[in-house]
Symmetry: C2
Subunit: 309 residues, 2 copies
């Protein structure tokens, strides 16, 4: 960890996933956007996690987070059952079908930041109700950099709160379909332009195995996805991307165009590992050496000579 | 043109397109894979064009090709009507519907290379019947580098001839859906591996606005697509990519991994210009300075610092 590493806060879901892909099936494994985010980010910077689980949340999952030095002071454990999601992916991973969503204790989630966490310098508001995302922002002081995620459900159902939120964040991460839905523009550069007019200085459009695009005041940056032949489970890839991204931002402690580009690549690196196993299992056997090697592989993946034409 | 520029031959369709997009409609404009290829490549290397048109083919179109110094000795003009295609793109460009295809004189196309062209060093077999692609290869001597394109119609209907062809080419360019169809693999790195086992040492998978991937013995290379906000007409983008690619290969006159990477970017550059206007109209006002500027913009699009993590 570099001396300058800034504090990084995430608020979002922690849950139990039951997932089936061509590679197999796993029941009640650790899931939730904030889980993926925290563990991915933890390789680069210490993370403060704000979330809620029920009394049935397995200690083994808590231990995985704690072992990655995720600060769990904001992880409420309340009476009731933990948030659960189950889904199945098409054999070619082109679509996924949600079989069941049980909000359980997440239904009444009302995030309260522990004492001192309001001063967190980097804040990631994972995909939850924009009203709750706003409430966390109210509790935060003056973070240096705030990024958020969202989804079709909120774009359609809570547009007003979402627009209020967007006016106050530095960056929005969302996938291509969400970008089109939010902006009403089919063309991605046009969609990004429209979204930036709503507030965020930067927009990251995630495109799965087609990589991610960053649109900000310094122009456009394209991060490729790493070609992975044996995809096991794409769940949480976008949240792992956000974790790698924000982890690097917090570790560097500066917000400038070149740091943001590097953060895009580290987001892509962590996302590429995430899909190589079920749940957060790939992160259990991940270390900084492998991260460094894949970062170098990304550099090679896009390298070409600046020749004279 | 550098002194070492090698000879570049293309065989494919030249036709009249009627196309409608959100940007407007054009009737009987210059189209066909070999037209896009030739004009795109002509900015980098002289091109020999083998194709067939009818007696109704407008002189203005022939003149456009001639003005770009495309050698038209192989452009047969035979009695009958020129190949015609008409189609309409969805407003968001996500799909296109073919309204009509009239093969006309293309129906009996039997490419004959003019004297001396059999010694062409670089050969591109654009998307036509693989039986005809093979016949051109028979007429060619020992080209240094042969690339070909194909489509779903031939993968399904002429698989045997296509497999015979693939055993004899150095590189196959195709889009993602075609790669999946040909290989039976949904995952693109797996599809590329399977296709390379059929013969081509290199496979380029074109993904439209998600860029293109090169798989070859030296690994993987990802070329982004240039984010274009005002797409006018995507027709011919893939053929323009092939033109920029092969134009650079012929101009350099060497087949090595770094030259192929640069060719991927020049393919992307020419494709990005192609979609900015209908038909080949963008190429009419294109020059080497603009190509150099966009090449530099591609370098910036993917640039990040090789920092220490």
């Amino acid at each position: 960890m570099s001396r300058s590493t800034a504090s990084l806060l995430v608020v979002g879901s922690v849950g139990l996933d039951t997932v089936e892909t061509r590679a197999g099936k796993r029941a009640e494994v650790l899931g939730g956007a904030a889980s993926y985010f925290s563990v991915a980010a933890s390789f680069l910077a210490p993370v403060r996690l704000t979330a809620v689980v029920g009394t049935d949340f397995p200690d083994a999952h808590t231990k995985l987070l704690a072992d990655r030095a995720v600060d769990l002071a904001g992880l409420e454990r309340v009476s009731g059952k933990t948030f659960r999601w189950s889904g199945v992916y098409a054999k070619d991973f082109s679509t996924r079908t949600t079989l069941d969503t049980e909000l359980n204790v997440f239904q009444d989630f009302n995030p309260k930041l522990p004492a001192g966490w309001g001063a967190s310098e980097y804040v990631f508001l994972a995909n939850i109700d924009p009203v709750l995302q706003l409430s966390v922002l109210e509790q935060a002081g003056k973070p240096r950099f705030v990024a958020c995620d969202t989804m079709n459900f909120w774009i359609e159902g809570k547009r007003e709160a979402l627009l209020k939120l967007l006016a106050r964040v530095d960056m929005l991460l969302l996938n291509d379909e969400e970008a089109r839905q939010l902006s009403g523009e089919a063309n991605l550069p046009a969609a990004a332009r429209a979204i930036r007019a709503l507030g965020p200085k930067a927009v990251v459009i995630k495109r799965g195995d087609a990589g991610a695009l960053l649109f900000h005041e310094a122009g456009v940056f394209a991060a490729p996805a790493f070609p992975i032949e044996n995809v096991v489970d794409p769940t949480g890839a976008g949240d792992s991307f956000a974790g790698g991204f924000m982890g690097w931002m917090a570790r560097e402690g500066v917000v400038d165009p070149m740091t943001i580009r590097t953060a895009m690549i580290l987001g892509s690196v962590l996302a590429s590992f995430s899909v190589e196993d079920f749940s957060l299992d790939r992160f259990r056997r991940l270390d900084l050496t492998q991260i460094r090697e894949r970062f170098a592989a990304f550099a090679d993946l896009v390298h070409f000579e600046k020749i004279k034409i």
